[in-house]
Amino acid sequence: MSTQIKLRHCAKTFADGTRALAPFDLTIEGGETIVLLGPSGCGKTTILRMIAGLEFPDAGGMITFDGDDVTRQSIEKRRVGMVFQSYALFPNMTVAENVAYGLKVNGVSAAERQTRVAAMLEMMHIDMLADRRIDQLSGGQRQRVALARAIAVQPRVLLLDEPLTALDAKLRVRLRTEINALLRKLGITAVYVTHDQEEALALGDRIVVMQKGEIAQIGTPREIYRSPKNPFVADFVGAANRLAGDMRDGRLHIGSQVFEAVDGWNQYNDMIDKTGPVELFFRADGLSVCEREDAHFTGRIEAVAYLGDKQRLTVSGIGPQAMMIDTHADDLTAVGSDVHCRFNIERLAIFPAHDADSGAI
């Protein structure tokens, strides 16, 4: 039932000559939720707008919905549902009129419109707001209305452009869960644009990480998180700690410490076989605080951030840059004191050193 979307050799050059997107191929399976993830200006919104029909690919590009060529079709004909960061609700209409709008312009009879709008509002838990004006709604309510309006017309694909960015953190998580459940329930093909890696991991069947107009990696959330393909992806999905090392004889040398290759490195096989300088990326859980005798490294605590369920230490003296290390919330930590820590050696991403210099942001 759900629509498969194919983009072939799509590139985008704007009128002023700026290359927004290098040519790329992307297939979105029917019913799949794809998240386009990347920093601002990486081209993720341009891809979304291409699928919508608000931007058109450069000559040679082709977009199909279930095999139908829609490349030159305008947005009115494509049957796409859009949800914007700014909600884009019609301020001159009530909640119910907003949701009914797409049905109205498509010639659905008043009686059926009423039934379908009521069902939509109920599904989004906003049935009690039907007669409200838009300016009487909170941000979360507005985004629910926007979702109801987009799916009321039963679009072939749902396109969401940073829909939660304008909301506060708590609401963002709640609405994210609801959107996730909604997308599974409808089984609709969805493209979701965000710069928030947590949102991407939670929502995506697959994630497309974008970097400067190119696709840096496509993979499941697990692949993206555990096996970033390059330093940019590693850095963007939260591996903020960096260390320099050397690969020799299939072993990793960091300073005087030597580590044997482990299973978690399998995806970096070619790296393990090589010899030469490497750059290591890891998250705050890549190092853990331990006793002196078990320690690989010793550093000095520069700052402590208490996060409730854990503490995040800023530690200097291990590498050239300060490290982020998470520790138990009840551990005694004092700024200025020494801290001993062990490498969780399987939670590493390893890249040749020159890649790391050129790719990371």
């Binding site: 494509r78 859009m82 884009a88 019609f90 001159n92 709008y101 498509n106 309006r149």
Partner: protein
Amino acid sequence: MSSLHQIKGGRSRPSLPSFMVGQARPGVGSPAILALLLTPGLIIVAAFFLIPMALVAMRVANGPDGFATYFIILTNGRYFASLMQTLVMSAGVTVTALVLCGICGLFLVRNRFAGRNVITALLTLPLSFPGTVVGFMVIMLAGRQGVIGSVTDALFGDKLVFAYNIAGLFIGYLYFSIPRVILAVMASAEKLDPQLEEAARSLGAPTWRVIKDVILPGLMPGLISSGAICFATAMGAFGTAFTLATDIDVLPMVIYTEFTRNANVAVAAALSIALGLLTWAVLTAVRCFAGNTATSGTGGGA
């Protein structure tokens, strides 16, 4: 009012910085201060509105026919026709200006091209011309020696002359109104959220529906306010009419004639009151109508 402030002040905790407590001291919003702030407004309303209106109204009452003068101006064919003619022409100028400027203003805001600023500047130039100059320009254009006349004479052997009647006045007032309306439209158009249009289009709305349901409602506040100014100006403008001809029966001209030539002060005064009331009534009606549609969501034209 002041007691409320004292309660607030009493509730404020000692830990609050002193400047925050100080804000809640009584007197800032007290009736005496409010009255003082209102005084200049009241004086202006009295000096420039209430007193002159009262004086004019008294002139009617003291005239030979007393309050019956109002009845006379409504039953006298010439006065009534003039009233209607002024009304229809002003409404026509307003609607035409709104349509023309709505299209031009939207175009100028949405498109970037060489000479755009020059065109905007030229379109707003008439702001600086007095009505007399506008009348003079209309004569140059459509008068007996005008450009249009010469062209039609050369082409069809017949001079097209329309500067000296209501058509000429219509052109003059339109020219006069365009800058005001176009500036208001451009200001409103800058504020339109392009994503609203994208949302409407994604739902399948064709262009005309996007215009009707999204663009027009968004422009409506600007269209109403500038249309009101345009209409009121056209109802009362005098200089252009006076320059074009003395026999155009628009209300300001009739008032002028009655007052200066016929010394018919009471009728002139009654017509003045009628002109004011009529303009006010039309503007109020439009405002009410537009206010209703803006909230009920049907959109539509002004």
